[in-house]
Every structure is written in structure tokens, then in C-alpha cells.
């Protein structure tokens, strides 16, 4: 495995060095050095209904040095490439923010900084990911650990055995890089996987030992799940055939979280193949639930303008074209209300664990 690892990094390192070659060759030919970067926007993604994935298109933008509008970005791209190559050579991993600090300095004889904020360096790392077709992990850049898992699953992490059934109610914190080289799934006896949007609801389920009674794995990403959580869900789904259910708030953002888990995101469409779980199911909160579970109207929240705009955008996405989904979103728009998972506490503190989820699972009441 170690062998494979060095080989891989070598490939990425070579790609990074190749960027310097672009500049050198262009300079020799008196041409403007230019990179081609695939566009990361809705205009350049398409939904592949057969595979159930969002795929990135062929459109590219060029970034050239001798263009006043792009010169700074070009320079920044070279600096980030240099920093990433340094990571490759030293075989270290780092965070987005550290990359920002590593590449930030004041340009000689001027008052201009190479980067003013991290908002400038982050997109460049994504640009490099897509143009070099390298995963972020391969670039040795990690995100924050912001996910938790609990349930009957055993991992091997740096040689330590981690049994997620014996970690109390806090669970195991999902690392940002969960590739087999870094995290090994030794055993998994669960029947399904429940991905919860909110940490608070995950805590509720974990405290109530929901996972023990229904023999499942509980996973949360605290909002939009980070790559590590999505990738881990995908691995458990793929390697251990666990069906995946997604439990989110009933609002446009909740729907979108579900869709990212299922089909992949627009921004990182090129990663869909590795992260998306096309068979994931939407278990709740559905816009039909308030009526079915007799939630009082007063625990709803009025949709604001942003919510409405976002919901209308969702209606137009290719991957929300199934009649059931159109009906689901339109029902929310007609009611004019959104509901948080937490609103279930209005009935009982343990309503989610004791009534709502059991009934959902029994009735197989979910959307695909």
C-alpha cells in the first residue's frame, strides 16, 4: 500500500510541475501562458439519469497571464501550485487556511499582498483539483473534522481499532480523509445508515440509542456534510451494502443537502463518481409530514424570500424532475412554511426516536 501511495503522489507532483512547464514553454515561444480550467457552475454540469449522478461538462475557461483581469489569479494559481508541490515533497497534509497563510506575502516593492483573504485562495485550490483531475486528498489538503458516527461498525485508524458501538453517545469523529489508505473498515454489521443533517438530532438519536434498537449507523455532517462524511457514507454503502436514508429539515436547503448526498454537488461535480450515493433515500422531514404527524401549524416558520427563490431553483434542476419531488417542493411552497427537525420536540422530547422514525421505517415512507 505504501508503494501505491508514493506512486500516486508522484503523479500529482508531476502534474504540478507541469504547470511550471506551461509557463516556460509559452515564454520561449513568446506566447501568453494559459491554463485551461473546467468551469464549475450550473452551466457546465449535466445530470446523468442513467447513473443518477451530476457530471461535469466539457466547458473550460482559460486563465492567461497577460490579461489584466486574470494576471493576479494566474500569479496566485502558480503560488498555490508551488505550495501544493511542497506538500507533496514533504508528504504532509494541511488545511485550506494553512495554504492561504503559506502563500500569503507582500509582493516585493509594492504594498500589494499576494492574497488578501482566504476567499481568494480556496477557489484556486478547487480550480487545481478539477484542472489537474486530482482529488483534494491527493493534493494533501484536508478539511476540518466535522462529522460524527456511531453504530455497529469497526474502523482501523492509524493501527488503532475504533469500535463505534463502544464510544458512548459522542461517537467517533469522522476524519476528513477516509480513503482506504487512511481509514480501514474492519467490520460492519448494521442494516442501514441514517445520515442526519443536524448534530442536535444526531445527539438525540445517539442518546436514545436508536442505533442499537434498529441496528443502524448514525452519521451526521453538521449541516452540509463535508467530503469525509459523504465519502464514508459512500464507502459503507458500497462496501457493506448499507441502504442510506437522509434525515434533514423540511426546507430548500434540506432538500439540497439530500440531493448533494445522492447526486453530487454542482461545484464539485467531478467528485460525484466517488462521493454520490444515487440510491440514497429521503426519509424526512417531508412537506407531507406536518399533516400526517399532526404537527401544529404554529411550529412552522414562514418561508422567506431567499427560501422561495431557492425552492424555485430546485424545481428546475434536472435531478428534481420526478413527479413525487415536484409535488413535494410545490407542497412546501403552497403551505408557505418550513419545519425544522427540532420542531418534532413540540410533541415529545423523544418523538423523533420513539414515534416518527419507527413509523417512517415501518411504512417505508420515503422519497427516492
Amino acid at each position: 500500500m505504501a508503494q501505491a501511495k508514493t506512486k500516486k503522489t508522484g503523479a500529482v507532483g508531476k502534474k504540478l510541475v507541469g504547470m511550471a512547464d506551461v509557463v516556460i514553454t509559452a515564454a520561449q515561444r513568446a506566447k501568453d501562458p494559459t491554463f485551461e480550467i473546467p468551469i464549475r457552475a450550473l452551466s457546465n454540469v449535466s445530470f446523468n439519469p442513467r447513473r443518477g449522478l451530476i457530471e461535469m461538462g466539457e466547458k473550460k475557461q482559460s486563465r492567461s497571464f497577460f490579461n489584466v483581469g486574470m494576471a493576479k489569479k494566474f500569479m496566485q494559481t502558480m503560488l498555490v501550485a508551488d505550495a501544493l508541490a511542497e506538500l507533496q515533497q514533504a508528504d504532509l497534509t494541511t488545511s485550506l487556511r494553512e495554504i492561504y497563510y503559506r502563500t500569503k506575502h507582500t509582493i516585493q516593492d509594492s504594498h500589494e499582498n499576494t492574497f488578501d483573504t482566504q476567499d481568494e485562495s480556496d477557489p484556486i485550490i478547487e480550480d487545481l483539483e478539477v484542472s489537474l483531475i486530482a482529488l483534494r486528498e491527493e493534493l494533501h489538503v484536508r478539511a476540518e473534522n466535522s462529522g460524527s458516527i456511531v453504530g455497529p461498525v469497526v474502523f482501523g485508524d492509524d493501527g488503532d481499532r475504533v469500535d463505534c458501538a463502544k464510544l458512548g453517545k459522542g461517537g467517533y469523529s469522522v476524519p476528513s480523509i477516509v480513503e482506504p489508505e487512511y481509514l480501514e473498515i474492519r467490520r460492519c454489521t448494521a442494516d442501514f445508515l441514517l445520515l442526519v443533517e443536524k448534530g442536535t438530532q444526531w445527539n438525540r438519536l445517539s442518546e436514545d440509542k436508536f442505533w442499537r434498537r434498529y441496528n443502524c449507523v448514525l452519521l451526521t455532517g453538521n449541516g452540509q456534510p463535508p467530503r469525509g462524511v459523504r465519502r464514508l457514507a459512500r464507502r459503507l454503502h458500497e462496501e457493506h451494502k448499507l441502504p442510506v436514508y437522509v434525515l434533514v429539515d423540511n426546507d430548500p436547503w434540506g432538500y439540497y443537502i439530500y440531493s448533494v448526498v445522492k447526486q453530487g454537488s454542482i461545484n464539485l461535480a467531478f467528485e460525484s463518481q466517488r462521493m454520490a450515493i444515487p440510491k440514497a433515500k429521503f426519509i424526512g422531514l417531508s412537506s407531507a409530514d406536518p399533516e400526517r404527524y399532526e404537527l401544529p401549524r404554529n411550529v412552522g416558520i414562514k418561508l422567506n424570500e431567499k427560501d422561495i427563490t431557492r425552492a424555485k431553483e430546485l424545481l428546475n434542476y434536472q435531478w428534481f424532475q420526478k413527479p413525487a419531488w415536484q409535488q413535494e417542493i410545490k407542497r412546501m411552497l403552497t403551505s408557505g412554511l418550513k419545519y425544522e427537525l427540532d420542531a418534532l420536540a413540540n410533541k415529545d422530547f423523544q418523538y423523533l426516536t420513539k414515534k416518527y422514525l419507527p413509523r417512517k421505517l415501518k411504512e417505508k415512507d420515503w422519497l427516492d
Partner: protein, 704 residues
């Protein structure tokens, strides 16, 4: 109630005749009985009548000194200086003398240990001029009688209007320190100098002479006034210093010397050597007269017929027009003016207001003039761009007026040329020198700076309502434009409509507002053109600069990527070559505003850059003895250029011309027109509409 009504009456008719008082008494006594039954303590009309008496103007002002600008010690000090200086300037100009005024402020210890000027409460103000002097007999009344003067009864532009100012200042001094006004005056080298100490009898509004003698005085002619007043000296906004500085901007023909209480001497040299044209006195225009005034004029006229009265006592009324007005008003043209009363007078008044009458003549006002404004701004304010606009005369309420506006923009070439290098690398969230300084508005009425009540002034409102963003200057909603900018607005008129007696803000007439706005827009347009051009040049410069900066970074990054063994110099050179060809190479330099004649086709403007000045620079340069300066073609853009042979040639030509200019200085007056085009008459045709002006280095410029 009765006393209240009588006070303004007494004030308006200065030496109030006895009959006036009796009239008000009788009115009061007629009204009184109704209130008698209301309470037992009520006084009778007779008792009240006993208490009612005349109020002298001087007494009135003793109580209402804020109306004249003596609200607080700091403002009072300024008002005293202002009144004395205004009088000096008015006198000099009327006598056709280029004014030289010396202002001296000293602290007066008053028996105590001397204190710092900022702590002192008593000051001696001495203002000396080289004016015509005042004849001996008039001195007491000019300085110690309120509402006595030459300016109130005529329609002519001057700084002072009512004849209150200097005597009010004297009275203020008298009230606060008990000291008399000391005056020295000499009407010519052969006349003797007279020294007076005068005070005002506040009851009678008559002067009291304490001292009167002939003395030896070094000055051949002029007047010196010394006042001792309670005041407070503080620098900064609305200070004496600021007022004198602003005065020198609007009056570049004045040489002003100021001895500050701190012992410093500031000199504002004369930069414009012509007196403003002396304004003519005019008769009132029929539109500007009120009904009451018309009645009074009808009574006082020397004419024997109404038609004659109209034609001779008003301007712009011809005998034919007078007949026409009489006919329309159904008054016989031959009626005696004294017999036109009541209804007939009112009809006549209304008819006049509806008759179409030519606007009043405008030779009664003397604008500062674009050149003089430029010269004044240039002398006092550091900037990169100056412009001045004089509007054609306009009329409000029958009074002619002229609006002039000026702009000084920028921080001065020294600042601008400074390499903008941050001393400390910037951290996240920090900005570089992002100062949001707001523009400063300097306001003038008949050449006198207005320092107080800015927001109530029509000029200020016009500045706010102008959309400066159209001219490339940022401006938040309802605020002054932001940027290193001074906005100059001057209103010249035979009667400036102030909002109060203390002459602090110009009232907001639509016609005035409109003229100010038009003047500001024109100035703004020129500024906009200047800023856009400069921006274009700067962006082109930046464009190349960007590449130069980033090439270093990109090459360094490539070198590290390639393991540190890259021929970096070669790569840099290759990239620089591409950069230079991409930005148009040397051609860009030529394309950048180097084509036109200076000052970039903007009339009445000066542009200052690190390389020199452009525009109406003979104004800026003008010093006695070297009126003609050589011509140079436009060279302004702050672009780094390779030294070209053309430029060196120009440089040497310039030097030789300077010498020539000095030697032919005497021919200046006749060569005035030629001076615009210097010694190259051949270029006259081509440059004529653009007024190409000489340029010289900034080193020779005088600044205070």
C-alpha cells in the same frame, strides 16, 4: 406688547424722530382698555405709557449682540477683525489703491501675568491699511455711531452694507473692556496724521471723543484702527487665521500681513496685480422694490410727474415704458408723485411687477474673475487640479448677481508623486490609506469669507445637491463629496440676501441656487475630464506595473516547482518582452494625452504634476518683474518615459525663455494677448481656442 413692537421700529429708523414714539404710544393707549378688567393688578394705559420710551439703536444692539456676530468670545474676535479688514478693503478699492493690509493680534495682560494666547481673554486688534484715509471730521462718526456710512443708500457692490460693522465692533470692545477705539488716519503724505480715541454714547448713538491730536505717523497715507476686546483665540475651523487665509484666496490683489498672537508673522503675498474693476452704482430695479419702499420713494422723489419719477428713479425704465406703465395702472403720467396714494399706489405697484422690464445692468457688480480665483486657489491650496467658473450675471428680486465657483483638487504634486509604499505589510482586513476625507466648501459673499452656518447657506445646499459622482468623485447620499477637494463659491451682488444681520449664510432663492448649481456643474465637468484622463493614464501605467510585479512572483514559483535550477533571468526577460508587446510598448506613451495642447483643452484651469504645471500659469507664476513666462507644450502625465531627445530640447528652450521673459517684462501690458502664446506666434492659430499656457517647474512656486 407695545414695547415689543416699538423696538424694531426704533431700530429701523435710526435717529428715531419724536413723533414715532408718540404714535406708538397712542396706539397702545387705544388698545389697552380691553384688558383692564381682567385683573386688578393690571396697569393703566397711562402708567404703561409712562414706561414706554425710545430705545436707541446702540442700546438695542448692546442687548442683541448675537445678531451682529458677537455671540461668543471666539466669534467676537473674528467679527472685529473681519469688520476692520472689510472696511479697509472697501476703502482701498473704492479709491483705486491696491490694498496692503496688516492685521496684528496681541494679547492684553490687563494687570495680570501674561498668559498663552490660547488662554488669554483680552486682545488688542490693530488693522492698518494703505487706503485713502478718513477726513478728520468724519472719524468719530464712522467709528462710533451705528448705522452711519456710505454704503447703505446706494446700489453698488461692496463688502459692508449697513454701516454697522466697525462701530458695533467698537461698541463690543467698549462693553467688554471699557477701552475706546483708537484710530490714526492720514489722507495723504502732505496731510497731517490724526489720532483719535472715540467711544460711543450708547443712549444717544453719538460719538464721544476722548482724545484728538495730530501725531507723527510713518505711513504716508492710510488708516489704522485699534480695538481692545474680550475674545478667545483658537485656531482651526472658523478662526481668525482661517478667515484671513480664505480672504486672501478670494482677494489675490491684496497683500495681507498677519501677526498672530503667538508672535508669528504670516504673509499672504499679492499674486494678482490688477484691482477688480470698480463697480458702478445703479438705481434700484423696479422688480426689486417693495410696496412700502415705493411709497417712500414717491414721497421723496425730486421728479414732478409720476412718469418722470419712474424713468429717473429706477434703472431700465425708459420714458416710453414709464408712460406705458402709467397707462396700464390708470394713473395719469402727469400726476404729482406725492399724490399717488393708497389704491392708486397699489395698482401702480402691481402694474410694475407685471410689466416686462429689462434685467438690471450688471456693471454694478465686479466678479473676482476666473484668473484671479485660479490665482488665489493656487496660492493657498495645494492641489493637482484647479479650475474656476464665472457665470454670466443673473437677477433675483431685481438685484443683479454673479456666481463664481472654483475647485482645487488633489493633494499637491509632492504628495502625489510620493511612491505609494506601505511601510508595514498589510494584514487581512486592513486597507491602505483609505482616507474618506470630505471636501471643504469655502463660501464668499462679495469677496468676504463666510465661516459660520454652513449648512444653512444656499451655496452649501447647492454643493450637496450636485451629483458629484457624475464627475468621478465619490459622494454618499446627502453628504459632501469625498476626496481631497476644496470647493469655492462666491456670490457677488449689490445686495446679498443674508439669512441674518451677522452675514453668515446666503438665503436660498431659486435663482441663486440655480446659478450656483450651474457653476458647480461646469467646474465639476472639468474636474471629471481631468480625473478621467488621469485615471486612464494611471490604469495603463498600472497595467504594465501589474505584469512587472507578478512576473517576479510567477518566475519564483516556477523556479521552486522545477526544483530551483531554472534560468530565472532568462525566463523573466522573455516574460517582460511579452508584457511590453502586449501593452502596446512605447506607443502607449504617445497615445496617453500627449496629443492635445495644454491644459488638456480645459478652460480656466491649472493642472499640476510632479513634472510641472500646466494651464493659466502666468497667473500662478506672476510676480512683479517677471510677468511673461516662456511657453512649453503639454507635459503632464505622471508616466515614466524614456528620456527622448525632443524633451531635452524643450527643456533647454524653456530655460532660455525664462531669461528673455524677465528682460521684456516691461512690455507685458501690450503683450498680454501674446503672452498667452509666448514667443511662438505661429502656434497661435492651432492653439487659440485652447489657451495654451506656459509651464514651469514647481520649485519656483510660492506657497504659504
Amino acid at each position: 406688547m407695545a414695547t415689543k413692537t416699538s423696538s424694531p421700529r426704533a431700530r429701523s429708523s435710526a435717529p428715531a424722530p419724536q413723533s414715532e414714539t408718540t404714535v406708538s404710544e397712542s396706539v397702545a393707549s387705544r388698545k389697552k382698555p380691553t384688558s383692564r378688567e381682567e385683573s386688578s393688578t393690571a396697569v393703566t394705559a397711562v402708567e404703561m405709557g409712562a414706561r414706554q420710551r425710545e430705545i436707541s439703536v446702540s442700546e438695542f444692539f448692546t442687548k442683541n449682540r448675537h445678531l451682529l456676530g458677537f455671540d461668543n468670545p471666539r466669534k467676537a474676535l473674528l467679527t472685529c477683525v473681519k469688520e476692520a479688514v472689510d472696511n479697509s478693503l472697501d476703502a482701498c478699492e473704492e479709491a483705486g489703491i491696491l490694498p496692503e493690509v496688516t492685521v496684528r493680534l496681541e494679547t492684553v495682560a490687563n494687570g495680570q501675568a501674561p498668559v498663552a494666547p490660547s488662554q488669554a481673554t483680552r486682545f488688542r486688534i490693530t488693522v492698518t491699511d494703505n487706503g485713502p484715509g478718513i477726513v478728520r471730521q468724519q472719524i468719530p462718526r464712522v467709528f462710533a455711531k451705528l448705522l452711519y456710512g456710505s454704503k447703505f443708500h446706494r446700489m453698488r457692490m461692496s463688502r459692508g452694507q449697513q454701516g454697522i460693522g466697525i462701530s458695533a465692533a467698537g461698541m463690543y470692545g467698549q462693553l467688554t473692556t471699557g477701552k475706546p477705539v483708537k484710530v490714526i488716519s492720514r489722507t495723504g503724505p502732505r496731510a497731517a496724521a490724526h489720532y483719535f480715541e472715540v467711544q460711543i454714547d450708547t443712549k444717544k448713538n453719538e460719538p464721544l471723543v476722548h482724545e484728538n491730536k495730530q501725531i507723527d505717523w510713518a505711513q504716508p497715507q492710510g488708516t489704522e484702527v485699534a480695538l481692545e476686546v474680550e475674545g478667545r483665540y483658537q485656531k482651526g475651523r472658523a478662526s481668525v487665521d482661517e478667515w484671513l487665509e480664505q480672504t486672501s484666496i478670494a482677494n489675490p490683489h491684496v497683500r495681507l500681513v498677519y501677526h498672530t498672537p503667538e508672535g508669528e508673522t504670516k504673509e499672504y503675498p499679492r499674486t494678482y496685480h490688477e484691482l477688480p474693476p470698480s463697480p458702478k452704482e445703479i438705481k434700484p430695479h423696479p422688480y426689486g422694490i417693495e410696496f412700502g419702499a415705493l411709497l417712500k420713494m414717491l414721497q421723496d422723489t425730486k421728479s414732478h410727474t409720476v412718469a418722470g419719477f419712474l424713468a429717473s428713479d429706477f434703472c431700465r425704465v425708459s420714458p416710453a415704458l414709464a408712460e406705458e406703465i402709467c397707462k396700464a395702472a390708470k394713473v395719469s403720467p402727469a400726476t404729482k408723485p406725492r399724490d399717488v396714494k393708497h389704491q392708486a399706489a397699489e395698482t401702480l405697484y402691481k402694474t410694475i411687477q407685471t410689466t416686462k422690464i429689462m434685467a438690471p445692468p450688471t456693471n454694478c457688480i465686479s466678479p473676482i474673475g476666473e484668473k484671479a480665483i485660479l490665482s488665489g486657489l493656487y496660492k493657498q491650496i495645494k492641489g493637482e487640479f484647479y479650475t474656476a467658473v464665472s457665470r454670466p450675471p443673473a437677477v433675483y428680486r431685481g438685484y443683479p448677481f454673479i456666481i463664481e465657483a472654483g475647485l482645487a483638487f488633489g493633494k499637491g504634486p509632492e504628495e502625489a508623486a510620493k511612491p505609494q509604499q506601505a511601510s508595514v505589510p498589510l494584514a487581512e482586513g486592513e486597507d491602505q490609506g483609505n482616507d474618506t476625507e470630505q471636501a471643504r466648501v469655502i463660501r464668499y459673499a462679495n469677496r468676504v469669507p463666510l465661516l459660520y452656518q454652513q449648512s444653512a447657506c444656499a451655496t452649501f445646499k447647492a454643493v450637496l445637491s450636485t451629483t458629484w459622482r457624475n464627475y468621478g468623485v465619490s459622494q454618499s447620499r446627502g453628504a459632501l463629496p469625498a476626496g481631497p477637494m476644496v470647493i469655492f463659491v462666491h456670490m457677488a451682488s449689490v445686495w446679498v440676501p443674508f439669512t441674518s444681520e451677522s452675514k453668515e449664510a446666503i438665503a436660498d432663492y431659486d435663482e441663486i441656487q440655480k446659478e450656483i448649481t450651474l457653476a458647480l456643474r461646469e467646474a465639476g465637468r472639468r474636474l471629471g475630464i481631468f480625473l478621467r484622463r488621469r485615471e486612464r493614464a494611471a490604469s495603463e501605467f498600472r497595467r504594465r506595473n501589474i505584469f512587472d510585479l507578478y512576473i517576479e512572483e510567477v518566475v519564483a514559483a516556477c523556479n521552486r516547482l522545477k526544483g530551483g535550477n531554472l534560468p530565472t533571468e532568462k525566463l523573466k526577460e522573455q516574460l517582460h518582452k511579452i508584457a511590453s508587446s502586449r501593452t502596446g510598448g512605447l506607443k502607449t506613451d504617445e497615445a496617453l494625452g500627449k496629443t492635445g495642447a495644454g491644459p488638456e483643452g480645459l478652460p480656466h484651469s491649472i493642472i499640476v504634476t510632479a513634472e510641472g504645471i500646466e494651464g493659466e500659469t502666468e497667473i500662478a507664476q506672476q510676480t512683479p518683474g517677471s510677468p511673461v513666462v516662456s511657453v512649453n507644450t503639454a507635459e503632464a502625465e505622471p508616466i515614466v518615459r524614456p528620456e527622448s531627445t525632443v524633451k531635452t530640447k524643450r527643456g533647454s528652450k524653456e530655460k532660455s525663455n525664462v531669461g528673455k521673459g524677465r528682460s521684456v517684462g516691461a512690455t507685458k501690458a501690450k503683450a498680454g494677448q501674446q503672452a498667452l502664446f509666448g514667443d511662438e506666434p505661429s502656434s497661435k492659430k492651432q492653439a487659440a481656442p485652447l489657451k495654451k499656457k506656459p509651464a514651469r517647474t514647481t520649485a519656483t512656486r510660492k506657497r504659504t
